[in-house]
Symmetry: C2
Subunit: 751 residues, 2 copies
């Protein structure tokens, strides 16, 4: 059956430059980078920004949120589903793939308004030109679904052969993860899938191909299941394919495979068009609350939207109790694990723009208590020691050997898992902050208070005191700056620990005042009678790093006595380009050169602790010593710079953090481990820098206030934000800001 | 003036095989090794066992005890004095040196009874044979002095040219240390010296050459000051030189240079012969109290004496307040620094055989309080943190970068200085033990009690406690096994800390009971009212590692969970032969393979804590996991094996520890740093293994008891020992031991 009315204009990308990421011309070396840059995602899954003819070699992947598998002794990582959009066009036996075939033109576009991936490539073949256009989206309205339209146009009648279907060759780093794989066909719908080796979770991709013409033959080969279409395409009548596909993981018990297949079987071009509209409406609603409009350079507007979209697309589905991995849904690097990135860099965005998402981010950490408590026991502590790399139920996926020595090719013992104790506080404080921001007691009573108290309990058990001194210390830790391992009294860590214990005391006090029943329950269950005095005592005895005569706060005990070599000097000592800067003997380890914001991270988190003189002194001291070797660094330096009114460097950092996934120039290697992918923390940092920095949005006495520090390049900012039960609009100019209730107003793209 | 009666038979070595170390034939590659093996010393200085024609290239050296200098930024090291025994013989212009010239015979001998170094080499030159015989000793009766006789014999009359005198080219690792050097001659005596760059300490060598014939001409060349002797030597009348020399360092204010020169000028062959007799008598008196006679293999008897002599020769001079460096007086390696080797391995020998020496060993550590207190403050503690590598006044010479990475050639940050906190306790407990052994209250009141209390104070300040746990921990330390850095609760360290605090409490209690005046003084001065309760509390709260179900005591928290790879497996992972096994990423670091006795060191120090089942379980667990990569290891494994009655392995370890400097097969490299030299700790360990192990000598209720475990190869042992004011003789057979008072008896060599 063919669909004569299929014209392939269903998901055409927007022409509005403000809403487009685009690249023209084809660079072979950019294929993997563009897989990140042009990612599309819908919270359920991510589809890397590869071309339809790409496969495992080009890191094409349908990356699933929250599905993990460990094969053998390699590290656990998220599972990729079989890719249903693998389409290869041949002319005279030659594959039309710009990696193999001459082209005359190529463009790749991300339509940010509709989250549509578009590519258009014109191949010079024989004595004619063949143009392939493909547009795809992952359905926001119906997240297991995705759609592709694929059009072949010719300048002269040409015999075309297309193979389309599900690629059985799944890209995996530590795979294969799907075993006992099978393909099948049932009428128009075909499928391919298997189950994960570790948890026997069924992962299946279903697909249906609609075409407007041609001789179609079903295929089921070792590498692909789908269809071939042979046709002589004429200039007047392009070949159009429309592929509707769905993925299921066996978690969705309310959507069995048969139901998904029925839905796919029922689609027509018209109903797919309607589905696209629903997708766009869903996305528009997100943009409505999330967009930031600026008057300023178009590239800034585009970059800002790019980063906002990056967050919107990977937000966990409502009710999923999932969170956001450090590399989003861009693949298997970083083990698909959730880091503190979510809490420190992304949660503020969601609190302000999509507060419902925060409930899932929090729920993920509540479930994570299981793993965090186990981890604490494993290391000899009590309470909750949250994972550096969190997978299901808070399981810490971190290896004890996270870096490979480039000189010996041996794994290096690293301490990210054992010693980054600040994660617990990052989690607890994000929950406490969410409770305060949303004013929703359920956040506390549905598990949030327990997380906060258990994290505080962990710090009490980790803290040590000398018998001859009043203060307690947090010894042998790693702070945000990972180049310096096993340090004592990291400024950020100690401050986070103190705040966590204070939050625990405040949470318990709040519950006692407002929820007698729950309070009575937890008093017994958590042994608060013993615990609270320990909290009070520990909080009183924690030693914070304090500014020296020059106002500088030591990053940890002894940091300021380390060699004060410049970054260039330190870099010049590298013997190999991929050498690890940190660890016991790295070029930075015994110097003051740091990887990323650390004291400045503390300033960002606890700005009210410090006078602006101290803040400035530390920004000025640490910035020249910071390699910005993490995507978490630029935004915090930019944020603090903006808050200090140093708008020129702040703007510079804005451009850097906003461009990380656009340029793809971020660090791709740690030792010999590939760590590429998208950087949602940089996206969240971009938003924080714009909203908290340039617009200066903050809370004073439970009131939203904006004290703007706009860069000279920007004349205006307008955005919406949620706070304590109300929507506000914020309009910012150089002259000042207006924050006004906007519960019944509309702003943004759909004004 | 010539001395016709000079015949060169003054210091002829003993023919008794039991008292000789000898080597026949010449191996060029053994020259440096033999510099250690054939060392002679007299407490004031050491003379490496090189040949007279050797110079800096062959590491010839007169190594001074307790004189240090730092040049530039290289590490401080002991100073070598100009060598007065540099003698080169030429025939027809050719230098007679086995490295350059054919020989027909060569022998090198250490006469252990007289501590005389003998060499005899026959050179094939032209159509005749020329034999050089040289005997030298460092005067035990007059420690600044040394004497050499040098005889040239021929088969046919031969024209001989000899250059003798002080070698101005001093071998230094990080030198030159002597600046503004000058040579001079005053009548028959000539000299050469300069002053140290750092402390302006004058170091001078004076010499006088007596000859029996020939045409003598004074020389003063850039490389040497002395004399040339030209003569036709006949078979009937060998050429004989007798060189009397003295060294002064400007510390000996009672022996100015002029007085030394007068003494040298006054010498005749006869008075030198008399001085040799005095030297031998002094040495015989030492042997009288120190020798161990065995009935058993001659090689064991020789090896035992060799190790005893090694200790006797390097014992500090009475009143010098010096101690014994880890490489004795064999050169500049290990910075000439004093390690815990002295306290744990050598002090027991001196307590038993030469108790007066112990007063200087203790006095050295009393002076070291200055440095130990400074070091504690530097690292943020109170009390006394004794140096890992101690030079004058307890100054810690340890570099923060003690090993060079063989892959990158970069210095590696090591923690021997910062984290080996057990040294303080090793020092304190040795002093406490000396007080108990000698029953001499002056050891406490002349500074010993202060050292013990300050070391205990240090541990109290280092100990940390969690607020939710009763026990205190010693975190982030290095134990005896240096391959595992920055560990928590090292079993040995925690036990030493506890014993130190208990010794401090016992010392204070003893003084209160026996010395009211001193007690009153220190109560105020040391703030004992505040301190003693802290001592009591800390001692009660220290957590010791306890045996697991299998009886095994974990070397530190988490040790038993490390990879249980075999030593061979670990060794097979080496990529380069000189690679460091320890540090953060060494092949042993994340395994249970250890460098040296650690838990077994604890067993040796606190044997009474444990049942023999536990001792055996730990010996059997740790021995196969011990690389014995330190000269401190064999003896302790042997000692415990003997005490367990496992005499076969004990005997095996005896042979290994006793042979370390005889075979020269000990580790010569740490990374790329040369660490060769003699191993007095292995010598002390040999003695401990023989006396405390095989003879089973120990104290029970203030009584000396011997419960022997003789190896099957030995039938008898006889030795003397001092204990609490009395001399005892101990006679051991397989049937049992007799310990009897022997204050008026004589045993040993001069029976």
């Amino acid at each position: 059956m063919t669909f004569d009315n299929l014209t392939g204009q269903l998901f055409w990308p927007t022409p509005l430059k403000d809403w487009r990421i685009e690249e023209h011309g084809f660079q072979p070396e950019a294929v993997i980078k563009n897989g990140n840059k042009f990612l599309t995602a819908n919270g359920y899954m991510g589809y890397r920004g590869t071309l339809e003819e790409n496969g495992a070699a080009e890191l094409a992947a349908v990356n699933l949120s929250g599905v993990y598998d460990q094969r053998g002794t390699a590290w656990r990582e998220p599972v990729n589903a079989p890719n249903p959009f693998h389409v290869v066009t041949r002319v005279a036996g030659q594959v039309l793939d710009p990696l193999q075939h001459p082209i005359s033109d190529h463009e790749q576009v991300l339509d940010m308004a509709a989250a549509v991936h578009h590519r258009r490539t014109t191949f010079s073949t024989g004595n004619t030109l063949v143009t392939i256009t493909a547009n795809r989206f992952l359905d926001m309205a119906q997240p297991q679904f995705m759609f592709l339209e694929y059009i072949v146009q010719v300048k002269q009648a040409t015999v075309i052969s297309v193979t389309a279907g599900i690629d059985k060759q799944i890209w995996d780093i530590n795979g294969p993860h799907l075993v006992d794989c099978q393909s099948w066909r049932d009428d128009s719908v075909f499928g391919y899938g298997g189950q994960t080796g570790e948890s026997q979770l069924a992962v299946t991709t279903l697909s249906r191909i609609l075409v407007n013409q041609g001789e179609c033959n079903d295929i089921d080969r070792p590498d692909q299941v789908g269809q071939t279409i042979a046709v002589t395409v004429t200039p007047e009548r392009p070949l159009c394919l429309l592929i509707a596909a769905a993925v299921t993981t066996g978690r969705e018990t309310d959507a069995p495979i048969a139901a998904l297949a029925d839905t796919l079987a029922s689609y027509t071009p018209e109903t797919i068009g309607q589905e696209y509209t629903r997708h766009c409406q869903k996305l528009a609603a997100l943009w409505h609350t999330s967009d930031i409009q600026i008057e300023g350079p178009q590239q800034d507007q585009v970059a800002l939207r790019y980063n906002i979209l990056a967050l919107m697309m990977i937000a966990p589905l409502a009710g999923s109790q999932l969170s956001i991995p450090a590399r989003g849904l861009s693949g298997q690097t970083y083990k698909g694990a959730v880091f503190w990135d979510t809490e420190l860099f992304m949660t503020p965005f969601f609190l302000a723009t999509q507060p419902t998402v925060v409930h899932d981010l929090v729920a993920y950490r509540l479930k994570g208590l299981i793993g965090a408590k186990k981890k604490a026991v494993e290391y000899g502590y009590t309470g909750a020691f949250y994972a550096w790399e969190s997978q299901e139920d808070g399981y810490d996926a971190t290896s004890d050997y996270n870096v490979t020595d480039v000189f010996t090719n041996r794994p290096m013992r690293t301490y990210f898992k054992d010693k980054q104790i600040h994660i617990s506080g990052d989690v607890a404080l994000a929950i406490w902050h969410a409770f305060q921001w949303l004013q929703d007691p359920a956040i506390l009573t549905q598990g949030g208070a327990e997380v906060i108290v258990e994290c505080a309990r962990f710090y009490v058990s980790y803290a040590t005191a000398r018998l001859d001194r009043p203060e307690v210390a947090f010894a042998d830790v790693i702070g945000p700056d990972e180049y310096h391992e096993r340090v004592n009294n990291n400024a950020f860590t100690n401050r986070v620990a103190l705040a966590t214990i204070e939050a625990a005391l405040a949470a318990v006090a709040y519950l006692q005042e407002n929820n007698a029943e729950y309070s009575a329950k937890i008093a017994q269950q958590w042994q608060l009678t013993d615990l609270l005095p320990l909290f009070t005592e520990t909080a009183a005895r924690i030693r914070l790093q304090t500014p020296n005569a020059a106002g500088v706060i030591s990053q940890f005990d002894g940091y300021l006595a380390l060699a004060d070599d410049s970054i260039d000097t330190v870099r010049s000592r590298l013997l190999k380009p991929k050498e690890y800067w940190g660890g016991a003997y790295g070029v930075a380890s015994q110097t003051q050169v740091i990887k990323q914001a650390d004291v400045v991270m503390m300033l960002a988190a606890f700005l009210n602790d410090f006078s602006s003189d101290i803040v400035r002194a530390n920004w000025q001291y640490y910035e020249p010593r910071t390699e910005h070797g993490s995507s978490l660094s630029y935004s915090m330096y930019g944020l603090i710079a903006a808050q200090l009114g140093m708008t020129a460097p702040a703007y510079d950092f804005f451009q850097k953090t906003a461009a990380i996934d656009l340029t793809g120039e971020s660090k791709q290697w740690a030792g010999t481990i590939y760590i590429g992918g998208t950087h949602p923390a940089a996206s969240g940092g971009t938003w924080r820098l714009a909203v908290e920095g340039f617009a200066g949005l903050h809370v004073e006495n439970d009131q939203l206030v904006a004290t703007p520090h706009l860069p000279s390049q920007w004349q205006k900012m307008a955005f919406r934000t949620y706070y304590q039960g109300h929507w506000y609009r914020v309009n910012v100019t150089a002259a000042g800001a207006v924050v006004s209730i906007a519960d019944d107003e509309k702003i943004g793209v759909d004004d």
